[in-house]
Amino acid sequence: MPTAKQRFTLAAVAVLVLAAASQAAMAQPRTDLVVGMQLEPPHLDPTAGAAGAIKEVTYANLFEPLLRVNADGALIPALAERWSVSDDGLTYRFTLRPNAKFHDGTTADSADVKFTLDRARAADSVNAQKAYFAPIASVETPDPRSVVVTLSRPDGLFLAHMASGDAAIVAPETAATNKQKPVGTGPFKFDRWVAGDRVVLVRNPDYDGPKPALERVSFRFISDPAAQVAALKAGDVDAFTLFSTYEALPEFRNDPAFKVMVGSTEGETILSTNNARKPFDDVRVRRAMAHAIDRKTLIEGVLYGNGVAIGSHFPPHREGYVDLTGMYPYDPAKAKALLAEAGYPNGFDTTLRLPPPPYARRGGELVAAMLAEVGIRAKIEPVEWAAWLEKTFKGKDYDLTLIAHTEPLDIDIYARPDYYFNYKSERFNALNDELNRTQDQAKRNALYGEEQRVLAEDAVNGFLFMLPSVTVQKANLTGLWVNRPVQANDVTGAAWR
């Protein structure tokens, strides 16, 4: 314990250092930023890959879709400065910014948009979200600034999809080389990529919109938790997004030089259950598992308390959310009784397959320990993403797995006939059909509520928690997103105070 005098000295030194730092800052606000990320992107073409890291570097910074999502999750203009939708919901007219240019100096006009959309829906398209473009019947370009997209059927999510990174507008001349040398229309342009270490973007001097405050932004890739903490403390990075070394947060919270922001993501983290496989085809078994899992302890153990429990497949921060977390309170005795009723008085053996992210590996270990308490002996099988996608997601050959579903508003996956949950419910499908036909927001919200209730009653999967979006940053940095409505590290609004 420091003595009172020592404490005074420490405080005095801290004040001096802070004063010196703020003086320096006032004299010349910094114009560079280093953002830490956990994973390095495989390449930098958002229209040809699903890896989240690609969008976390490029979205809104380097590439622009026609419209984009902002920090609040709202759709705002991007390459298109305005748009209109016909009454029948079939014709969309986009008007592009008058002076938009690609980073190589060529103008970004309607022909580029047509090229981008046609490329994404072509037969040989390798767009990770080709389904987003499936409703498009034709793309016309009446003049260089106007694009008219005609749909073959109404699609309530079309604009949201056109605001995704997968719909970033690219030029025909550079589309083939964007993976290594991305050329977009955004306020930042690509500078260099030091493999295994960082991608550097610099301010685009020819950007026709409002210019960002920062001149140079580096994204540094640090996968090791201890190295992440060390880099933040040493000032090697100014901010770390999707920070997952939760145990280090109290330390940063207590340090006035840092600011910790805990926001929401769209990631419902669930114990996916193969509803077609014995004994999980019995709702009593699934309900028993729901009673066996102590969400509070799980959130404490995996996220150090930085997460929100869910009772169904819907994020609490969205309109239409219904709190169902009380439906299956933690009750091992009840779980055992339900198991006995279902014919498993001594429990059973099963396999819990875990993909690589720490939340899955740690969460899985805890869930297995909780299931073991009621007699369900889950053997843990760690797999890489490739094997998970092939065997679990595509092959549907699994018992249990733990995974965060990060697509926004994806409750409709429970209506898909061949989704890997193997869940079939007439009630849910009817609700989903009605939802697709409904435009009125209040009615839609009510339907979303009904859907959540059906899923919770059927205990389709173990509904665990929302994955948090944790950002640790220097206290005098402003403008980074708190929440993460889409996968992005939008630095266009970031600035030093």
Partner: protein
Amino acid sequence: MLAFLLHRLVSLIVTVWLATIVVFAVLQLVPGDPALLMLGTGAQPDTLAALRAQMGLDLPVLTRYLHWAGALAHGDLGVSLTYARPVTELVAERLAVTLPLALLALAVSTAAAIPLGLLAASRRGRGGDWAVLGFAQLGVSMPSFWIAILLILLFSLTLHWFPAGGFPGWGGGVGPALHALVLPALALALPEAAILARVTRTAVLDTLGEDHVRTARAKGVGRAAVLLRHALPNALIPVATVLGLQISFLVAGAVVVENVFTLPGLGRLLYQAIGQRDLIVVQGVVVLLALFVVVVSALVDIACALADPRPRAAS
């Protein structure tokens, strides 16, 4: 001698050729589709097919092997499925980390081990010997990844002398780059130094027993001079042999240590490529590593045969 060299060369080629088949066959069995991994959960059958065609994964297995092996024979390792760049380019880039790391580790370990081995041999049975033997025993027993963690704990997190991981690249100057390699090189070098110190000690003790050394000693040549002029040069042959044999462990150690320090070296490239199912990169890197290990052990063999005047295979 010529027959021996020829035999060594043929067996080298056969081994590497077999290695290409083994690697290729093993990778066909790895579950997971690179195209599916790249496109994720939104992938549709038609996009998967298009991407697989683009990657050349739709061709029959034998055709793919022949394409790959044929190009390999010309020094072409193909194009990475993930990074869309030639594998040779990726390998060159990553070697710029792994090679300095391995050389640094090699330099540190030999620079530490040979004097320690000499010291131990000259003080056989006394305090110095025990100290060196103790150090060697400890070094051999500590896995390099644990040494790495301890080094991070002490020198990065506590003393803040070195970074806990990552690599700034050579573009920003030699200083910061070398700075980032110090701890990983130490972690790799320590077990290596332990082994080499023991080998040096034994080899020096062995040569001290040989006739010409005894003669020199009998003629009144001083102990230090005997050690440095007579025992050491002869002892270097077994030391070099062990060094050659250790290369394979150094390579394996680099895979793990690069992962601890998240260094963008060849080992990490390989480890990530396995995870990403970047088959072309895995094949290329594994075969290169195998080639390297095989060539080094052949060179060690040949060097030993050349250095050892006794007829080969007489034993």
